[in-house]
């Protein structure tokens, strides 16, 4: 894949899309206008109605022997007029009351059966709860009657010489613990996730359609296919254009919604909402993987259609699914759990909800982010696969049959697509299965099961599944003499890369707490014997993780045609498996070094040794505090860095010195997981 070509396609598609008034209006103008207008209109209607009800006197009918004093209290306290007074109730009082309320002649009917007398007078309050006016007036009248009843009781007890306060054995006062800000956040948390997901979808909807089905309909996609561009470059350029537009619209509309909600809650009694820049950034980052997935699906489905109109009907079910996922924020009891965190889009809805009400922790954020990212990768791979199906691009009959038919592209070995699909599946498996193993076994079981069961064995099975020759894929070769010298230098100093990055990260808030937690976790290996700890913490991960990340993932990404995509991509995947953001960054830096060494040396063995020494040193440091102090001294760190730099330079080009068959004759695309 050539970045320059992707950039040309991206730039052209973005310019062309932004010149389409319909797309710009639907993505930017309509949402920016609709939210304030909707809330202002609804708020104004609600306020007007509330004011009107406040000003209006209730129209009450009194049927039967309702006490006169009671009616006077209703007239005064409930601001009511008795407009229909009958000594005897009608034969069918409910039907008559319904008729009068419907004709707006009365709001409420007070009904006392004929002949009622004594110390307790029954009064039925008839109103229609489906009629806004009648319902509101019923509450006003009932409140007045309840207060009047309490007052009568107090008077009676006083007359009987009793303590009037005994008439109120429980003095109940309701008080809301939530302050105005929390009430406002709760209101926003119900609305914002839904609105965000829907607007991400609608923002990308027309652009994705225009650049897929629209281009097919106009014949320009075929013109593009005759140019020397790979289909993966086309899909990447188009994807980035739709994504840029979607994210741009999302940022604009997030601002619009936040402002609108802020004004809407200001009009509400006892509620206040304001989304600061950090909050908005957190929500944007949470929605980002959802946007990656939604845009991929919009493109994969959109390109199946042969015309713009057909595309609209294809994409409508996706919009409905997104709305359904977003609707979860309205549902009481819908919570982010291990199960719901797996469901794409629903997990984002629930996380945004939790962020807004201040319930989400860093662990939840990372889990949802990682799971959503895994889904997004699968979505992008699907889009890439669809874009490589000629029957789809050339508007053939029933093109989806070819998309999923096996053997469309034969051949042996791994591709960037299936390597990334493998990593995504492994990420989800590792997270959930390790939680299970952790609960049932100790630290030794956890390491053993995860390294063998989540990394080494799946990697070997994946190679077998895709008929990837192990020697070439995993680079099972003996390095040259110079390669070994470089490896020894790198192994001696390689630990310093992660250590230096880690030291810098500790300056950031939250990193120290994570470091302490990690130290505590790693300290558990202290329960093991030194030999067992070296095997489990150093040897096993060095072999299993190198086979997975510098073996399967790197081998697949190498076939993108770009060594930097291979090194950067495998390092990123390696980093993501460390889940915590600080650890991700440190592992990413180490992954870059290990990826570089694997490609330059043409062998997996240097990486295994560097990894082994790095982890082994960690075990020894935990058991020998004096050694830890010595290794953290500036002189040792500088020497280690120098050794690493020298090793990295020396390892360069050593793969040419060892006999190998070129495994990657032709670059292949991202698809075909």
């Amino acid at each position: 894949m050539r970045p320059a070509i992707v950039l040309h396609i991206f730039r052209k598609d973005l310019v062309e899309t932004l010149r389409d008034r319909r797309t710009v209006v639907m993505a930017f103008v309509v949402p920016a206008l609709v939210y304030p207008l909707l809330f202002t209109l609804l708020g104004s209607v609600a306020t007007d109605k509330r004011g009107e009800l406040e000003r209006t006197r209730a129209r009450v009918a009194a049927w039967g022997p309702v006490p006169e004093s009671t009616l006077q209290v209703v007239e005064q306290q409930a601001r009511a007029d008795v407009v229909d007074h009958r000594d005897s109730p009608p034969a069918d009082p409910e039907a008559e009351a319904r008729r009068l309320v419907a004709s707006k002649r009365v709001h409420v009917v007070l009904l006392t059966p004929a002949g009622a007398s004594g110390a307790s007078i029954p009064i039925r309050v008839l109103a229609d709860s489906t009629n806004v006016d009648s319902d509101a007036m019923e509450r006003r009248v009932s409140r007045a009657l309840t207060d009047h009843g309490a007052e009568l009781l107090r008077q009676r007890m006083t007359r009987l010489g009793q303590d009037a306060s005994a008439a109120r054995p429980l003095d109940i006062r309701e008080e809301d613990l939530a302050d105005a800000a929390r009430r406002g956040a709760s209101f926003a948390a119900a609305l914002l996730p839904y609105l965000l997901l829907v607007l991400v979808t609608t923002s990308g909807f027309y652009a994705a359609l225009d650049l897929t089905a629209g281009e097919k309909e106009r014949g320009t996609l075929q013109t593009l296919l005759t140019a020397p561009v790979r289909s993966v470059e086309i899909v990447a350029g188009k994807y980035l254009a739709v994504l840029a537009l979607t994210l741009g619209a999302t940022v604009c509309n997030l601002g619009s919604i936040a402002l609108t909600l802020s004004r809407a809650t200001a009009a509400m009694e006892g509620a206040r909402f304001s989304l600061g820049l950090p909050g908005a950034a957190a929500i944007f980052l949470t929605v980002l993987p959802a946007a990656l997935l939604i845009v991929a699906l919009l493109m994969a489905i959109g390109v199946l259609a042969r015309s713009y109109r057909e595309g609209q009907s294809y994409l409508m079910p996706l919009l409905l699914l997104v709305m359904l996922a977003g609707f979860a924020s309205f549902l009481p009891g819908a919570e982010l759990s291990a199960g719901t965190a797996l469901v794409p889009l629903l997990n984002v809805t629930l996380l945004v909800h939790d962020i807004l009400i201040g319930k989400a922790g860093p662990a939840q954020v990372m889990v949802v982010w990682a799971v959503s990212l895994a889904w997004a990768v699968l979505g992008i791979l699907l889009a890439a696969r669809v874009f490589q199906t000629e029957q789809v691009l050339l508007s053939g009959e029933k093109p989806w049959r070819d998309v999923f038919s096996p053997g469309v592209r034969g051949g042996r070995g791994l591709t960037p697509g299936n390597a990334l699909a493998f990593a995504a599946a492994l990420l989800v498996l590792t997270f959930y299965a390790s939680a299970l193993v952790e609960r049932r076994g100790g630290v030794a079981t956890l390491i053993l099961v995860s390294q063998l069961g989540f990394f080494l064995i799946p990697s070997l099975l994946w190679c077998r599944l895709f008929r990837a020759p192990l020697v070439d894929t995993l680079q099972l070769r003996w390095p040259s003499a110079r390669g070994w010298v470089a490896t020894l230098l790198l192994a001696a100093g390689g630990w310093s890369v992660g250590a230096v990055v880690w030291e810098q990260l500790l300056r950031f808030p939250g990193a120290r707490a994570y470091s302490d937690w990690l130290g505590e976790l790693l300290g558990k290996q202290g329960q093991l014997s030194l030999g067992m700890a070296l095997v489990l913490v150093a040897f096993l991960p060095a072999v299993a993780e190198e086979v997975t990340f510098r073996g399967v993932v790197l081998a697949g990404l190498r076939r993108s045609g770009s060594r930097w995509i291979a090194i950067g991509g495998s390092a990123l995947v390696f980093g993501l498996f460390h889940v915590n953001p600080y650890h991700v960054v440190a592992a990413f830096a180490v992954g870059l070094l290990l990826g570089w060494v694997a490609l330059e040396s043409g062998s997996i063995l240097p990486g295994v040794l560097i990894h082994l020494v790095n982890n082994g040193a960690q075990v020894l440091l935990d058991r020998t505090p004096a050694l830890a102090g010595w290794m953290r001294s500036p002189v040792v760190v500088v020497l280690a860095l120098a050794s690493t730099a020298l090793g990295a330079v020396l390892v360069r080009g050593t793969r040419r010195a060892i006999a190998e068959r070129p495994p990657d004759a032709a670059p292949v695309s991202l698809a075909a997981p």
Binding site: I5, K12, G219, A227, P228, V229, E390, S669
Partner: protein, 242 residues
């Protein structure tokens, strides 16, 4: 220069092209003729590397369609008759876009674009969105797009369809000039008059198979007809009518 060797394309039970073979040499125009549904577009798409043949082989300037037909596409200019240009880009922007996709350096591309604008008389509308151009203007811009990387071979799929006489003649003249400088041109058309006037040889395609190929005179002689239209009708006309 352009070589089709035993090209076949099947969609399940449907055979769109079967064992199609012919060549187009440098400095030659070959007409690919056939009724609707004969398989012309399928053959042209396979030659352009857009469709993968079920069997057979394609060579353009010595490059095949293995892998992603990447190098083959560099040697080829492809033009269709349905004037497929980006409606919201100007002809100048379209030329620059395709020039960049062909990885032409910016300085060389700028002078190449100006030369094409002048050669295909696009000056008056080179900065107007393609969506606002007439069919003739669009097709002139489109052929400039097919020439932007100066390919040695051209595949033209009904390029004069729905054009007025003046624009049609202008394009035919452009194709003659291209032939004169040694380009190999494969030209598919329904307008048999155009084929007779322009083509050095013709290939008659019917139901996905080559019925006949040779110079216009040879094809007419074998069909016992005086004109290409008569020869065409003699070979396929009755079946089409039926």
């Amino acid at each position: 220069m352009i070589e089709a060797r035993g090209l076949s394309k099947r969609y399940g039970e449907v055979v769109a092209a079967s064992d199609v073979s012919f060549t187009v040499s440098a400095g030659e125009v070959v007409g690919l003729l056939g009724p609707n549904g004969a398989g012309k577009t399928t053959v042209l798409r396979m030659l352009a590397g857009v469709l993968t043949p079920s069997s057979g082989d394609v060579r353009v300037a010595g490059r095949g369609t293995e892998g992603e037909a990447f190098e083959l596409k560099r040697a080829l200019g492809f033009l269709t008759g349905d004037t497929a240009l980006y409606q919201r880009l100007t002809p100048r922007e379209v030329l620059r876009y395709f020039g960049r996709l062909h990885e032409i350096r910016e300085a060389a591309l700028t002078s190449r674009i100006e030369s094409l604008v002048s050669r295909f008389r696009l000056t008056d509308f080179a900065d107007r969105p393609c969506g606002k151009l007439s069919a003739g203007q669009k097709q002139r811009a489109n052929i400039a797009r097919a020439f932007v990387h100066d390919p040695p071979a051209l595949i033209l799929d009904e390029p004069t369809t729905a054009l007025d006489v003046v624009t049609g003649r202008f394009l035919l003249e452009a194709f003659r000039e291209a032939r004169a400088v040694g380009k190999a041109i494969l030209f598919s058309t329904h307008v048999l008059g155009d084929a007779e006037a322009l083509c050095d040889r013709v290939v008659l395609l019917h139901r996905g198979q080559v019925l006949d190929q040779g110079t216009v005179a040879e094809v007419c002689a074998r069909a016992g007809a005086k004109t290409l239209t008569d020869a065409f009708l003699a070979r396929v006309g009755d079946e089409v009518a039926a």
